[in-house]
């Protein structure tokens, strides 16, 4: 199975803003943040079809989400909207600034995995470790 090295960039999107103002449990919010954006070339390398999940992993953690294409991205850069799914892969270290790194993070992407529901993500916060 193909695994590609990428740099992860996170941030806001208008869809995320629309969704969170409707409510975090809403389909609009969950669809807007339970996904990563990939460039067409990386989609081809991964061999994923529309609707297939992908797993994003960093040194800190991994998470499985849906994907959509974005031609504004260069090969090797993925965009992950802020939210409960993206949080699974950030480290909490702040380098004594208060701010964790949320952009420019080395990561791996591969096809497959199981996408957790919002409730399952919240429940996982109760787990030890």
């Amino acid at each position: 199975m193909t695994k590609i090295e990428v740099t992860l960039i996170s941030g806001r999107t208008a869809k995320q803003g629309i969704g969170l103002e409707e409510g975090k449990p809403s389909e609009a919010y969950i669809n807007s943040v339970c996904m990563v954006q990939l460039c067409p070339g990386d989609v081809e390398k991964l061999g994923v079809n529309e609707g297939d999940p992908v797993t994003v992993a960093t040194d800190h953690g991994s998470v499985t989400v849906h994907w959509e294409g974005d031609e504004g991205l260069d090969s090797g850069i993925i965009f992950f909207p802020y939210g409960p799914w993206a949080n699974q892969v950030y480290a909490s270290g702040t380098g004594s600034t208060g701010m964790p790194l949320m952009k420019g993070i080395p990561a791996m992407v591969e096809p497959g995995g199981k996408v957790l529901l919002l409730e399952e993500i919240v429940e996982s916060l109760r787990e030890e470790g």
Binding site: T7, I9, S10, G11, R12, T13, A14, G17, I18, G19, E21, E22, G23, K24, P25, S26, H60, G61, D70, E71, G72, L73, D74, I77, F79, Y82, G83, P84, N87, Q88, Y90, A91, S92, G93, T94, G95, S96, T97, G98, M99, P100, L101, M102, K103, G104, L118, E119, I121, V122, L125, R126, E127
Partner: protein, 426 residues
């Protein structure tokens, strides 16, 4: 009934030209707002916290407030956090709660433009109001910022499109975007400069050197040819009035506050040649207000510890992510924020281990983890108050409709908690 000049309580633009139709005590239409603003006004009744709860049981407001007081008065080191999506009166009360409990109070600036504040405290800033930029700027640079997704009317209302007193609108403005990806903002720019991730500091410092006329002995910096940077510096020097708007592309990547230090340095160098200003693209609608009220009351803009009875400031130690990730706090009071959905997982996990009191309008991952949840009114729709725009201009939020029955403002609930804590301390 149409209400005019309504201020939008979503992002740091605080657009103050909305026309909101209220019929039968409900918002039925909104004009002039962006799509997110429309979503906020039209959906403010959806997914609401239906009643106060404590320990998973329904309670009335006073019972829930009493449960909150019990948690906070028994805590040795409570964290009071959030506060950037509510109005200034509530922020003021929350800071007083931190003082009374000997806790730590922080706002969401710590995970957005906290590094900006750190840099500006070191090196100062050259700034202007959005109105002045609209009237005068003939060059606008967006660096690590994507307003077409995050501040949807910034371009059309303040920075690029509007006709100003001395600038004839879009055609008279040069627009440059520096980013790691070709965003929608980049697509509307006159020039897009694509930078390698984590390369901002080097590029900004290189540009500072170029402004001073130094020769650079490399061909490219962070993926950008030197000639392209020279051309940009020349264009910036030739502007009559330039504005740099920067976003989290600088504060959340490697370098953090040092990136801002370099950006301020570049703007400072530009002022040797012409007039340039720098404005952070503040996200939450009143995060600038949170920093302002914190500074009035404690002398510091965020990350303030009261454990010694007086305020101490130390980002990296008294900031929410650090306090939660280290397991240092033993209770939390969360107001108008959702750290369980916005913090790295290690920090969010500590919220599941400690008693959390949350004041929220809507169901969120943080309310799902909280011991006590108190529903509150939506500031700017169901409660009035004051908020500060990204450039520091204070604007008045409107109360357009009544909140659901038995639901009060953040300020009112925090006042009840504060008075209860003072009583408990006697």
């Amino acid at each position: 009934m149409e209400k005019v000049d309504v201020v939008c309580p979503f992002c740091g633009c605080l657009c103050d030209d909305l026309v909101v139709t209220v019929d039968g005590g409900h918002v039925t239409d909104i004009k002039n707002g962006c799509v997110v603003s429309r979503s906020k006004f039209m959906n403010h009744g959806k997914h609401r916290v239906s009643s106060a709860t404590a320990h998973n049981e329904k309670k009335n407001i006073q019972e829930a407030v009493d449960a909150a007081i019990k948690i906070l008065s028994h805590s040795k080191r409570p964290l009071i956090y959030g506060l950037s999506s509510t109005e200034c009166g509530a922020i003021s009360k929350a800071i007083e709660i931190a003082e009374v409990t000997g806790g730590v109070v922080d706002n969401t600036a710590s995970v957005c433009h906290g590094p900006t504040i750190l840099a500006l405290q070191q090196v100062g800033e050259s700034k202007a109001s959005l109105g002045e930029i609209m009237n005068r700027a003939d060059m606008v640079v967006f660096w690590g910022a994507n307003p077409t997704e995050a501040h949807l009317r910034h371009i059309t209302r303040y920075s690029v499109m509007p006709k100003g007193m001395y600038v004839e609108g879009r055609k008279a403005r040069k627009v440059v975007v520096v980013d790691v990806r070709k965003t929608r903002t980049a697509r509307m720019a006159d020039k897009f400069i694509q930078i390698q991730p984590n390369g901002d500091y080097e590029v900004l410092q290189t540009m500072r050197a170029l402004v001073r006329g130094e020769e650079i002995d490399v061909d490219e910096v962070a993926g950008i040819p030197i000639d392209e940077l020279k051309a940009l510096v020349t264009e910036m020097s030739e502007a009559k009035f330039g504005a740099v708007f920067f976003g989290l592309g600088l504060t959340q990547s490697e370098g953090r506050h040092m990136n801002i230090d370099a950006a301020v340095g570049l703007v400072s160098e530009m002022n040797r040649k012409t007039k340039f200003v720098l404005t952070p693209m503040r996200g939450h609608y009143n995060v600038a207000g949170a920093n302002t009220v914190f500074t009035w009351q404690t002398g510091h803009p965020y990350a303030v510890d009261f454990s010694r009875g007086y305020p101490r400031y130390n980002p990296g130690e008294f900031t929410a992510v650090d306090l939660l990730a280290s397991g240092e706090v033993d209770a939390a009071l969360i107001i108008a924020s959702d750290p369980a959905a916005t913090f790295p997982v290690d920090a969010a996990k500590h919220l599941a281990k400690i008693p959390v009191v949350t004041l929220e309008q809507k169901k969120t991952p943080t309310t799902m983890l909280s011991e006590v949840v108190i529903p509150v009114a939506t500031a700017g729709i169901e409660a009035d108050g004051t908020a500060y725009r990204m450039d520091g201009v204070a604007l008045r939020l409107s109360k357009l409709v009544e909140p659901p029955e038995g639901v009060f403002s953040d300020e009112h609930i925090l006042d009840l908690i504060l008075n209860g804590l003072k009583e408990a301390a006697k």
